[in-house]
């Protein structure tokens, strides 16, 4: 059987400090291909921290994250960066585009860092992705010349640049109006989770977005809570 795309085992993250803060405690989750998973929970519950750990943006204090079956805790900084580049795509609440670069250049950045395609192929692929997100006309605009929704779509395009296995999104609709929100959710659903072998993990407050997910992981105080699905079934 194929391993899950992302799997965590007893994942724990404790922030050092005078008073150590436990962000995430002994979490076991697994993200399978084709899934659209929402991580929900109250503010400060550790849901974003969990996402960063799953996305190798942070190093767990204890436990293990497996990407496509490979353990990552022993990997070097460079190897983790390479793994992020090849297999993961990120979308944050703030678009986090590089302000000096056009939309097209921003999308091409991860491709150029990976360096697998020729310059011409990168151009074509970046234009295709932007085009499929309805941004063909905005390819040469810089982030400050675009609306919030457009920027977030460029950020999604950039996350898709290297054809990742999993896209991890942290409150991707947190700063968007309803129309843009619907658009972004639609893209995440159809463009990524719809494709064979891919998965999307979204951290969100937005019940509308969470409702679209195949599965919800509810985090409270750094631990996996009872799935809210069950609770809603009971109230029905």
């Amino acid at each position: 059987m194929k391993p899950p795309l992302i799997e965590s085992r007893k994942l724990t993250r404790i922030l050092d400090g005078e008073v150590p803060a436990t962000l995430v405690s002994e979490i076991d989750v697994s993200i399978a291909a084709g899934e659209f998973v929402a991580i929900t929970g109250p503010s400060g519950s550790g849901k974003s921290s969990l996402l960063y750990l799953l996305g190798l943006l942070d190093i767990p204090t204890a436990g293990e994250v497996l990407i496509d079956g490979r353990a990552t805790s022993k990997l070097s900084e460079e190897a983790r960066a390479q793994l992020r580049l090849e297999t993961l795509g990120f979308v944050f609440q703030f678009h986090f585009l590089l302000p000096e670069f056009s939309a097209l250049e921003n999308v091409m950045l991860p491709m150029r860092a990976l360096g697998r395609l020729s310059a011409a192929q990168m151009q074509t692929r970046a234009k295709d992705i932007l085009g499929s997100l309805g941004l063909a006309d905005h390819a040469h605009k810089r982030p400050d010349q675009m609306s919030g929704g457009q920027r977030q779509r460029v950020a999604i395009a950039r996350a898709l640049a290297n054809d990742p296995l999993v896209v991890l999104a942290d409150e991707p609709t947190g700063n968007l109006d309803t129309a843009s929100t619907a658009q972004v959710i639609g893209i995440l659903r159809t463009m990524i989770a719809g494709e064979a072998g891919k998965a999307v993990v979204v951290v969100t407050h937005d019940t509308g977005l969470a409702a679209q997910a195949d599965r919800r992981i509810h985090i409270v105080d750094g631990k996996v809570d009872q799935p809210p699905v069950v609770i809603s079934d009971v109230t029905d």
Binding site: L57, A81, L85, L88, F92, L114, Q123, E171
Partner: protein, 415 residues
């Protein structure tokens, strides 16, 4: 297309190009540092060189005179280990260097440079009823041109004119003014020995040093010998060496070989040279301090630019850019700013040096001169090296710090 360039360079270039204000401030900061360093170094070392040149040129590099450094040892001193001597009467020696031309010939065999004989004597110059004391130096014009700048300092007439009259004399410009004589006048020269000749003024010289211009005159060796009342007298050999810094060693060797006191310009100016060492120390301290201050300016500006990019560093790292690549981007960026700053700084420094060289200094004791400026590639290279090092360090350390962070630390802070 930019995609063909290496990623690091194209990202660095985009940053530098699109952040016009920052880039301009950075380049300007580096340029000012480099420019002022260059200008100050040119001024400091220029004045230093000027000072030494004046010292070296005001006297022969080595002057061999008919004096002895120590009184001759008495026979009793030589015969016994201890001797007490009373009531010595000084013996009157015939003045002058013995066999001067033989000594010159033997020195010319090994001394790198030129040698000229001269006769020093004191005299009173009388013209139109006014008496003025002056040194009268007998020179050989054909040899003198090789050992002193006298021939270039002649204002009216020429050194060769000494041959044109039977008793020709060249006066210092100040001396001529004091006695009121002009070229063509006849002056009466009375030597210390009491001999008097009538001499024709055939030229005036102006060295710019008041002491020489007001009290020095030149005649032919033959004329000076007549004044001294001693034919064949030569009491000073002037030596001009090729390498002025070797004058001390050469003087020492001449003294050992001939037994006559030979004075190098360094020995003659010992007090000034020790002052020069202090000046040297001051110069290096000042230039060093300026380079330090300039490099701090460079460091500040470039590290600020890098700090402002901390978020971008986190973004690039989260995308999966290796830390090394991110670091290199900022080092390359600061190098671009550094190199551009250095180039502008060179131009700025050069222009400021030219500007400083226009400044005139008027002094009652010397001719009007300009600020001495030394244009030395070493200064430019040194300023560039320090500025580039400072820029690279200023790019490297903040970038390394930012790149060493887990991107999540910055993303957490931002959201």
């Amino acid at each position: 297309m930019k995609g063909a360039l290496p990623l690091v360079f194209s990202i660095a270039w985009t940053h530098v190009r699109s952040r016009v204000r920052q880039t301009f401030v950075g380049i300007f900061g580096v340029a000012v540092g480099v420019g002022f360093s260059v200008m100050m170094a040119a001024l400091m070392e220029g004045s230093q060189r000027d000072f030494v040149t004046q010292l070296v040129d005001s006297l022969p590099h080595v002057s061999v005179s008919d004096e002895q450094r120590w009184p001759p040892r008495q026979p009793a001193d030589i015969a016994y280990e201890a001797a007490e001597i009373h009531g010595l009467t000084t013996k009157q020696l015939r003045p002058g260097i013995k066999n001067p031309y033989a000594i010159m010939a033997s020195l010319e065999a090994w001394v790198p440079g030129a040698i000229a004989p001269s006769v020093q004597s004191k005299a009173v110059i009388r013209f139109a009823g006014r008496d003025t004391a002056a040194s009268v130096t007998g020179v050989d014009p054909r040899r003198e041109v090789n050992v002193s700048k006298l021939s270039t300092q002649i204002r009216s007439g020429s050194l060769e004119n000494l041959f044109k009259a039977s008793n020709a004399i060249i006066l210092g410009s100040g001396l001529a003014r004091k006695v009121g004589a002009r070229v063509g006048n006849s002056v009466v020269v009375t030597a210390g020995t009491g001999r008097t000749i009538s001499a024709t003024v055939v030229g005036l010289f102006h060295s710019g040093v008041a002491q020489a211009d007001d009290g020095q005159s030149f005649v032919l060796i033959k004329t000076a010998q007549i004044l001294a009342g001693q034919t064949g007298l030569v009491n000073e050999l002037r030596v001009r060496v090729k390498d002025v810094l070797s004058a001390r060693e050469i003087a020492h060797r001449i003294e050992v070989e001939t037994g006559y006191k030979s004075l190098s310009w360094q020995e003659a100016n010992e007090d000034l040279l020790s002052a020069l060492q202090i000046r040297n120390l001051i110069m290096y301290t000042v230039v060093g301090a300026i380079l330090m201050v300039a490099s701090f300016g460079t460091y500040n500006i470039i590290s600020t630019i890098t700090h402002e990019k901390t978020r971008d560093i986190a973004i690039m790292k989260s995308l999966g850019f290796p830390a090394g690549t991110v670091r290199r981007i900022f080092v390359v960026e600061s190098m671009m700013i550094g190199v551009a700053g250095v180039l502008f700084g060179w131009v700025l420094g050069y222009l400021m040096s030219i500007g400083m060289a226009q400044v005139e200094i008027k002094s009652p004791f010397m001719d009007t001169t300009h600020l001495p400026i030394l244009y030395s590639p070493t200064h430019y290279a040194m300023a560039a090296l320090v500025a580039l090092t400072a820029s690279v360090i200023a790019g490297f350390f903040p970038a390394r710090k930012a790149a060493a962070l887990q991107p999540v630390d910055i993303i957490r802070g931002a959201s």
